[in-house]
Subunit: 287 residues, 3 copies
């Protein structure tokens, strides 16, 4: 019975890892990403003033992971833009979210039950991207373990890692913080995921890749859905990180996030916390 159960799980994992992302999962990824762009202070104004800049920001939000990974591996940064159907779909989502009459499309996708489903689907894409990034890096550098982690990390984090420059495109400049100095949960999880997938690719972690993809996806989807439902930014890693960092680095990591409660005037708020406040104000304006 256990063997049968294991075979079934293995088959489920295999099927899941071979599932195509386009168009359903990718569509969810674009919708959630451009939703987060709309939450950014000033992005609506930019969409009125300069649609080209707004479109470019939306493309960075949707395809930033591919752009960064291609830069890391020395390929053309706009290589992914050869997939015309993907770009057209993302552009359609951008147009509907920013310019749909009566803001109808935005209201549909921001409706919490719908949003939770989309967030879960987005995490499926993120996990798949991290695995693919590590695999491509392994293909280029068979023993380049640091490179595999870096490429997997940028594939998972996407535009967050170039937030300073994406904001610069919108005329915003906030040099006091960045996603590496103050990691939000998705960025941290992408780093840990990249490390896990690299260990698996190097045959140090004795699991099948499809099983790891399934487990990591389930973890990410569950965490993000719970965090989105609760409007919380508490990281599931906080406890382990505090302990490990205190031991290795003599400090409590996640200080950036916990300090948010202790010192509300701290300039080192994570991007999520700043967006949260702006989002609430914007939601009231939009209604």
């Amino acid at each position: 019975m256990e063997v049968l159960a294991a075979l079934n799980l293995g088959e489920i994992a295999q099927t899941f890892s071979k599932m195509g992302m386009f168009p359903v999962f990718d569509l969810a990824y674009y919708i959630v990403s451009i939703l987060y762009l709309k939450y950014e202070p000033g992005s609506v104004e930019v969409s009125r003033r300069s649609p080209v800049a707004s479109w470019l920001c939306a493309m960075l939000y949707c395809f930033g992971s591919y752009i960064l990974a291609d830069i890391m591996l020395g390929h053309s940064p706009v290589d992914y833009f050869q997939h015309n159907s993907h770009i057209l779909l993302a552009s359609a989502v951008w147009y509907l979210i920013f310019y749909c009459p009566l803001n109808l499309f935005y209201k549909c996708v921001a409706f919490l039950p719908v949003k939770l489903v989309l967030v879960a689907l987005k995490e499926v894409v993120r996990s798949r991207k991290i695995a693919a990034g590590v695999h491509h890096a392994h293909h280029a550098y068979h023993h380049g373990f640091f490179i595999m982690v870096i490429v997997g990390y940028v594939k998972g984090s996407g535009v967050a890692l170039m937030a300073n420059f994406e904001q610069l495109l919108r005329g915003v400049w906030r040099p006091d913080t960045n996603e590496i100095l103050n990691m939000s949960f998705p960025t941290k999880a992408s780093l840990y995921g990249a490390i896990l997938f690299t260990l698996q690719e190097a045959h140090i972690l004795p699991v099948a890749k499809s099983t790891l993809i399934l487990c990591f996806t389930l973890f990410m989807a569950t965490s993000k859905v719970v965090m989105t439902a609760r409007h919380s930014h508490g990281s599931p890693f906080a406890l382990i990180e505090s302990w490990v960092c205190h031991f290795l680095f003599g400090s409590a990591l996640g200080g950036g996030e916990e300090d948010h409660h202790a010192a509300p005037a701290s300039p080192l708020k994570t991007k999520e916390e700043l967006s949260e406040g702006a989002r609430k104000r914007k939601t009231k304006k939009a209604e």
Copy 2:
């Protein structure tokens, strides 16, 4: 008679599109580009304090389009610097414009009739670059229409698209504006030109490439010569853009330029308007 006229026009277009740009047209491009660099506030001081930084800025102004296009296509950003004669010619122009005794060279090329000829010749080079950029992108990505537009766009716009970072090299940082957020006429025209050349390359626009190059060059040269003669920044696209953007995006585009008259304190002046004021002050100083 009409057939003969068409054949002649076709031959003229063919001859024109095959004409070599080096050294006459390229020389005009370098002179006008480095003139604009000299108009930038603080550039003369930088040329006294750090000739290396000044030379590097001049090279970005002259070859920024090649650098950006090479970055977009994943090639070496300094690939164009293998053309030693081009670099030497641009360096000679830089030296004469910034360090010629009694500012003689600057006064010659800034003399309006001479400048108008040089501006027209520069637009010949710009148009050729856009066409070449779209062609190279097509060669790398046969169906990458977005990539063709992007590469044609950066070939036409050149250093304007990296203005923030070129200014950073001179110790100036103005994050509130950039050439995508507030497009000047040449940058807009480069975008429209890139779209036209891409449609032609994809056989959607039923014209010969040489004819398109000729027509686009005539349009660009005429517009820029008129705008330079009148010291105006009014874009010929303003009316159509307002209509299209109001229809598509629910706003009047070109608001950035028109607002210059309504709100002189607006931080979103285009680079041209800011340079215009600085140029007038600088011209008085230089004389």
Copy 3:
């Protein structure tokens, strides 16, 4: 006798130029580089708050030259990270310098006699990198003399040329100065060295490469050891530069450095002078 002396010098130069840099010389390079990182204001705080950001900055300090050279030549910027042993060694140095109990490792390597030896060894690596950079560029572009100088220059200067962005990673933004606008001695020397090695590669300078490497290394090591021992930033080039720049550019170059004494409030202090003051304050704190 002279022939024998020349043969011996030639052999010494040959042996010296073939000497492996890893692990002894590279270790010295990593220690001195990360020491300079520790001197930077705020870097210790960053190491407590975000070890990932701190590690990344340390990697930029150690391998910035390879990253920049790979970017210039259109290769993967993280190509050098395939050398796992080098990355692990640099990571170990970073850990010991920032997190060693009682700051023991830092105190050992900052002890002046030890530091002088390490500084000398670092200059051996710098000179070798410039020569290798010029050679690789020559291999890619046989007549690309400007490209050879550029690549040699970035190989020698390393992280200094991307200081603005390395600081941005730590949440610091100082756009008023950069290493090209205000060149410190190592950056200037890297430029002159790159020019010399290019002239040698182009057979214009009639010396053997091994001899040039030996002479340039001796010059760099001696200069840096003397400057470090005296805590001075006076450049040995100052006199010749003033004369040449006054003749060519009508100004006294090195104005940025000399002005430090005339106008202490000048915002254009070199990075070394700013670090010097911070280092003294930090040394007192650390003890």
